[in-house]
């Protein structure tokens, strides 16, 4: 028998999973009631949500304590890394369903509706995107007002900034401080140029810039914790969270604007895809902000060290994933 291997940590029996199951049952039953206008619905959802929050607090607190008390060996750390990657992969596939939907309605569904047979039913229907379909007229769209050339230039700069912040992880990994700083400055410059090309009074462009900048600040925060500089880590993590919150504020402003101008979730297929895709993305930004905030509080409580901070890295992976989704959204939902 090999005795050199450490024992894998297997936790004690726990009531949290059961609590989570009860929470989801309450929420699912409550939501079914709610959408069918039964009075108990909102109350059930609220109580389920309360149980869920309690459960998440308790469960994550337990994991954080186990981690801080050194119960997780190298093999357990590896399990956490693997699981976070696979979880993000599942999220990618969730968004893929909606990107696929947008592709289908724009390039297949609309043309089917506009075909000769379709015209028998809806003579006035024009098979062009954006559309609210045969029975509705769009009052506004999210398409940019700038010229095509400028938009393409902006997209090129955006892709450049995204690539640069991705590349920044190489000097981060190899501990090359000045090279990392150089790349992150390049990201900021590219983001500024992007804003210049896209026009400053177009909210989606500002949102793109906010998220790209937040990726840069987060990468610098990562550098700080790897080098044991907790004060700087806290500052840059807080800055990242602030950028995320401002993004959500801008998104709320954009939605308000859209609803005033007459673009709603109910505005046919254009409204459906626009609000569902940006809405689910916004929900994921919210979750990312919560994750990063928890990491900030844990850091303030003295958790993490230069060597052990995977919870933060997992949250950072998630944040970068949410960023990438936005860049793709920006291209196919807003610009193209």
């Amino acid at each position: 028998m090999s005795q050199t291997l450490e024992k894998y940590f297997v936790p004690e029996p726990s009531t949290y999973p059961l609590m989570g199951a009860v929470a989801l049952l309450l929420m699912a039953a409550g939501a079914s009631f709610w959408v069918n206008h039964l009075e108990a619905g909102p109350w059930l959802v609220a109580s389920g949500f309360a149980v869920l929050i309690y459960m998440l607090f308790g469960w994550f607190r337990t994991v954080a304590r186990e981690s801080e008390s050194g119960k997780y060996g190298a093999q357990v750390s590896k399990s956490f890394r693997f699981s976070m990657m696979w979880f993000i992969f599942s999220e990618v596939m969730f968004f893929a369903a909606f990107f696929g939907t947008l592709f289908y309605v724009r390039h297949i569904g609309i043309h089917d509706l506009g075909s000769v047979d379709g015209n028998l039913f809806w003579p006035a229907f024009k098979a062009v995107w954006p559309t609210a379909g045969p029975l509705g007229e769009l009052e506004m769209t999210m398409a940019p007002t700038i010229t095509f050339g400028k938009a393409m230039l902006g997209l090129a700069l955006m892709v450049g900034a995204g690539a640069a912040v991705t590349y920044a992880h190489k000097p981060l990994e190899h501990g090359k401080r000045s090279q990392l700083q150089l790349v992150l400055v390049l990201v900021v410059v590219l983001v500024a140029l992007f804003l210049g090309a896209m026009s400053l009074d177009w909210l989606p462009a500002i949102n793109t810039a906010l998220l790209l900048a937040s990726a840069a600040t987060l990468t610098w925060a990562h550098w700080s914790i790897r080098n044991g500089n907790r004060a700087q880590f806290n500052i840059f993590l807080a800055l990242t969270i602030a950028l995320g919150v401002v993004f959500l504020g801008c998104q709320a402003e954009e939605y308000t604007h859209a609803y005033h101008e007459g673009l709603k979730l109910t505005s046919g297929i254009y409204g459906s895809t626009f609000f569902m895709m940006t809405g689910f993305h916004g929900l994921h930004v919210t979750i990312g902000v919560i994750m990063l905030t928890v990491m900030l509080f844990r850091s303030l409580a003295g958790h993490f060290s230069a060597e052990r901070h995977f919870a933060f890295e997992a949250a950072a992976w998630y944040w970068h994933f949410v960023d990438y989704v936005w860049l793709l959204l920006f291209i196919v939902v807003y610009v193209l």
Partner: protein, 542 residues
């Protein structure tokens, strides 16, 4: 009553008293509700899936009773549609999938020499999400408007029109999806990170390989299903137009998104069955598995191809001919890796020193009957011919040949093969064989006539039919009740084995290979807390 009792742990001569886990092992309901032990959770999955199997079976028998004669006798047509829908959903999400996850929980840590699953608490959550989902599905029968009646595929626009039962189904699917994704992540991480030293990927037992690939499929497609039903929900209640042509959407879009999930889902339900059969056939042929590497590559090929064949479910929706042809050829291509598998199983048996205990009977039965389901699948893949078969009983016959004679028979085979390890007792061999023959005969009596019904044009999901179809329908109903009773008999055999029986040796099958046979029977509560030494059996890898 359970497979592993605390007494069995302490009574065993390895003496686990020194290990800190045992001190807090709860008893009674807490043991099951708060379980973090992979064997306990595996047992929970297996019992849950059997309860759901009986529930779905009762719905099926109600359907068959109604179809015993033409005309309407027992149920109203709208209730009949609820029965077919719920039968499908309960069998797929409640019976077959959880049963395979139960096998994965019990056997994968034992087969790869791991102390437990990678995330033991999350493992518990994955299981305990299932009863709430089942509760939502079953109780939807009792709300105004009844359960969902749109078919298990929940096609729009039907699914946009139902009452509250449909919403409960949507949320149940969300919860089961979350359960599956967490369970699958757990399995992938366990297999990738917790194998005994020396067990490289290409030396893993086939069951672990097939589950690794299945779990990958689950993580890839369950979120897509979540997206599809979410769009249904917002179309129903929040005014979106994804599947509503009047708003610029398209009901056919739902079918695309659903089957992008649905076709890989089919392989999610059969790949672990391939794994089980690949463990059993070598054990009873007393020869190593023929073509281990080609088996791995065939499994991976099936998984990759499963992402590019979905539209063969939609040949009659008016797709362009070129699309139909592309999907037709991709679909037929799947016959190649599947053929490799069937060939390898037969080659494993070739000149083997064969005996036919119950697990082997079910495994050989699986190969024979599943292959018939594969052939009808090829017939359905032919786009021009499919226009005739679409939505007839031929399709019903086809997918019951692969899901019942495929997945379910493999589950039976696996149960008989590993139950000595679970309970410490041998099952009653005579009764087991009887269960096999009863199941095999009644299965074919039920579903073989459906091929002819379908080819003659009898549509599926219809409570009434032309009197012309009566004879075959009566035969199928008789077979179905026989099949149902055979499974009650199976439950008796399992209970009898749990309660007692001849003591099982650590390795009750002389030709069996693998780490699971190196631990005592019944397997102690904690196994492989220190990784075991792994030596590849002859013929596995290089």
């Amino acid at each position: 009553m359970s497979a592993v009792t605390p007494d069995a742990v302490h009574g065993h001569d390895h003496g686990h008293d020194g290990h800190d886990h045992d001190h807090h092992m709860p008893t009674g309901w807490r043991r099951w509700m708060t379980a973090t032990n992979h064997k306990d959770i595996g047992t929970l999955y297996l019992f849950f899936s059997f309860i759901m199997f009986l529930t779905g079976g009762v719905l099926a028998l109600t359907i068959r009773a109604e179809l015993f004669q033409p005309g309407l006798q027992i149920v109203r047509p709208e209730f009949f549609n609820q029965l077919t829908t719920m039968h499908g959903l309960i069998m797929v999400f409640g019976a077959i999938m959880p049963a395979f996850v139960g096998f994965a929980n019990w056997m994968i840590p034992l087969m790869i020499g791991a102390p437990d699953m990678a995330f033991a608490r999350m493992n518990n959550w994955s299981f305990w999400l299932l009863p709430p989902a089942a509760l939502l599905l079953v109780s939807s029968f009792f709300v105004p408007g009844g359960a969902s009646a749109a078919g298990w595929t929940l096609y729009a626009p039907l699914s946009l029109q139902m009452g509250m039962g449909m919403d409960m189904t949507i949320f149940a699917v969300h919860i089961m999806g979350a359960s599956s994704i967490m369970g699958a992540i757990n399995i992938v991480v366990t297999i990738l990170n917790m194998r005994a030293p020396g067990m490289t990927l290409m030396k893993m037992p086939m069951f672990a390989w097939t589950w690794l690939i299945t779990a990958y499929l689950l993580i890839a497609v369950m979120p897509v299903l979540a997206g599809a039903v979410t769009m249904l929900l917002t179309d129903r209640h929040f005014g979106t137009s994804f599947f509503n042509a009047a708003g610029g959407g398209d009901p056919v879009l739902y079918q695309h998104v659903f089957w992008f999930f649905g076709h890989p889902e089919v392989y999610i339900m059969i790949l672990p069955a391939f794994g089980i059969v690949s463990q059993i056939v070598p054990a009873f042929a007393r020869k190593p598995l023929f073509g281990y590497a080609s088996m791995v590559y065939a499994t991976a090929s099936i998984a990759i191809l499963s992402f590019v064949v979905w539209a063969h479910h939609m040949f009659t929706t008016g797709m362009p001919a070129v699309t139909q042809i592309a999907f037709m050829y991709m679909t037929m291509l799947i016959a190649v890796p599947t053929g490799v598998k069937v060939f390898n199983w037969i080659a494993t048996m070739w000149r083997g020193s064969m005996t036919f205990e119950t697990p082997m009977l079910f495994a050989v039965g699986f190969i024979f009957v599943f292959t018939m389901g594969g052939f009808t699948g090829l017939m359905l893949a032919i786009a021009p011919a499919d226009i005739q078969y679409q939505d007839t009983y031929f399709v019903v016959a086809h997918f019951h040949y692969v899901l019942v004679a495929g997945s379910l028979f493999a589950l039976f085979a696996g149960t008989y093969y590993w139950i000595p390890k679970w309970t410490g007792h041998m099952y009653d061999e005579k009764l087991g064989k009887r269960h096999f023959w009863l199941s095999m005969i009644s299965f074919n009596v039920t579903f073989f006539p459906m091929h002819f019904l379908g080819l003659a044009g009898m549509p599926r999901r219809i409570p009434d039919y032309n009197p012309f179809f009566t004879d075959f329908n009566q035969l199928a109903t008789v077979g179905a009740f026989g099949f149902g009773l055979s499974q009650v008999f199976f439950f008796y055999i399992v209970l009898k084995c749990i309660k007692g029986g001849p003591k099982a040796a650590d390795k009750p099958w002389d030709g069996a290979e693998g780490l699971e046979w190196t631990v005592p029977s019944p397997a102690p509560f904690h196994t492989f807390e220190v990784p075991p030494v792994f030596e590849a059996p002859a013929g596995h890898g290089h």
